[in-house]
Amino acid sequence: MYLEEIPLSAAVDPTHIERKPASRGKAIGMMLLCTLLGAAGQVLIKMGAASLHGQNPIAMVLNPQIFAGYALYGMMTVLFVFALREEELSILYPIIALTYVWVAGLAVYFFHEHLNVYKLIGVAAIVAGVGVLGRSGGGKL
């Protein structure tokens, strides 16, 4: 019974959208973890890319940092799918933008990049936007 084909219309059945109030908080928590994994993955891939010489694709895949970065991307995707089971796509997808926030912070620490006013405004706006999304739709967090 597991592999029975359910038509796409089952996924769009509006009754699926009804959910317990607790599941939104859970889904958003999973998305926070998702964006952290994505940001860590980006930092690792950047570190790996910096240590590469030339453009040998095999060396690229075998680079431990790049490999670990993509592994984190894979974990992020799995977690995203589990979060999507609990909550609407239109609420969860924009939360991925939090990745920018973590990356901005991690880049200061690992690559000594500077946080300027633009980045600070951007980070604040993204965090505020995610806060608004979390409370949207009349649901309680």
Binding site: I17, K119, G129, R135
Partner: protein, 111 residues
Amino acid sequence: MAYVLVASFFGSFGALFLKSGSAKLNRGLKYLFLNFHLALGVALFLTSSYFFVLGIKRGELSVLYPLVSLGYIWTLLWSRLFLKERMTRGKFFGLALILIGIAFVGLGNTR
């Protein structure tokens, strides 16, 4: 620029298929890999990142950043069209803040 546009388009469909795949997900990790919608979603994400890299190579980052966020707008559109999710003021306002934020982060990265 066109590459990044294409990338944002593919990425938004990737998200749509991950969502439709997630709805028919059963217990057990094994089924994560046997789910056609999920596989298609991941494939679309990989295609998207390929075009994104192509775009980054030859485009200016300050223009590309706001273009990337078009993906969020497509996704909102597909959520409404295909998933019949309700559009609320909170979703529009939240997304608007996020888009402004991404534009500013993009500006900050190019200065």
